[in-house]
Amino acid sequence: MIPAAFEYHRPDSLASAIAILTEHGDEARVVAGGHSLIPMMKLRMAAISHLVDLQKVGELRGITVAGDTVTIGAMVTQAELIAHDGLAKAAPLLREAALQIADPQVRYMGTVGGNVANGDPGNDMPGLMQCLGATFTLAGPGGSRDVAARDFYHSAYVTERADDEILTKITFTAPSGGYAYEKQKRKIGDYATAAAAVLLTKAGGKVATASVAMTNLSDTPVWSEDAAAALMGSDCGDAAIKVAVTAMLGDIDPQKDNRGPIEFKRHVAGVILARAITRAWSRA
């Protein structure tokens, strides 16, 4: 399996990367780690005339934790994210999730920016970023703009990003309280059958704030406001979790595929969310 022929570009600045995209329009695609795109090119399911490799674009690298503001460059790999102690302290939710993505070799190459920008419903970072209320920065020929992760995903592989824009960084406020990322997958390296990201804070023995997002259970990530609302003010006991799971099931729309029929996926989604809530609460 060999990709169809293309022209390869390796710009060394964001401006020149955007200039190449502007020149070639929808015939050009950026490549970060390539571990989603290259398999699709090998299968000839993605045809690209101009491949723009971002590995030398320094502006896209680095993780900074300044006060409670966390910024992650788009080209930060999952392995770099996992190894970053400051980030592990500020947002342990991310590390917990990244360790469940693919396998070691893929995590050395796969980037956070690629994971969120690709728009594949199977990717773990989009739901996570919606749970965190993160902001994505997009740079294009006319300058840069910020888009909320919760507004970024329109449908599978269709996002707010225009063809001549590059997702440059992700910013969010470090969450406090308890967290959990639970993922059910058939084997190492597989996408989720169902996954749940949960953030909870506690005040006076009750849930003060909650955020819940689900992965691979619709054609976009699902940030379930109803599930979070069901938890807020509760004691996070079995009854409250049951109400939250029911609320979440109203928001997802899984499709039958080789990971199972719809009924099974809905069942797994419920189990996974209940586990994530329980674990997040135990850490709150």
């Binding site: 060999i2 022929a5 293309f6 490549v31 390539g34 491949l51």
Partner: protein, 163 residues
């Protein structure tokens, strides 16, 4: 057809300049242009890890890396770790602990294990299993592969302590 590009690679300590089409995969360049047939082509879909090589200090599946992306990189394949006259400690331990049967996955296993032990010289059994999760073996059931890697780590650490 896109024109060929000049690619520089340092492989197992030796500098190479070669011409390749941008779409050529690193595994094909290593095997067909440089004659390094240690890294194998298994699944071709970045699952099995048989094509694992070390690129700039990272274990990568060379069936999912374009030769163009690797331009400028330093690469180590199984041929760079040891040879029949001087086996690497991981190779010796795989032999001693029966960490292989058909041998197809072995170059990828050992190349990956090499990087794992560079990053974590004294891993637990669980850390070995987690760190080797990107390499599949259909013969051994993994028990002896894990044993071999733990034994190699122990020998490397004992040697270092003695020095």
């Amino acid at each position: 057809m896109a024109k060929k590009m000049q690619i520089s690679l340092t492989v197992n300590g030796e500098a190479h300049e070669l011409l390749a089409e941008p779409r050529e995969l690193l595994i094909h360049v290593l095997r067909e242009k440089l004659g390094l047939t240690g890294p194998h082509i298994g699944c071709e879909t970045s699952h099995c890890g048989a094509c694992t090589v070390d690129m700039d200090g990272k274990s990568v599946k060379s069936c999912t890396v374009l030769a163009a992306q690797a331009d400028g990189a330093t690469i180590t394949t199984i041929e760079g770790l040891g040879n029949p006259d001087g086996l690497h400690v991981l190779q010796r331990m795989f032999r001693e602990h029966h960490g292989l049967q058909c041998g197809y996955c072995t170059p990828g296993m050992i190349t990956r294990a090499h990087r794992l032990l560079q990053e974590n010289p004294a891993p637990t059994e669980e850390e070995v299993r987690f760190g080797m999760a990107g390499n599949l073996c259909r013969c051994t059931g993994y028990q002896n592969i894990v044993k071999a890697i733990l034994a190699a780590a122990a020998e490397m650490n004992a040697k270092e302590a003695a020095e």
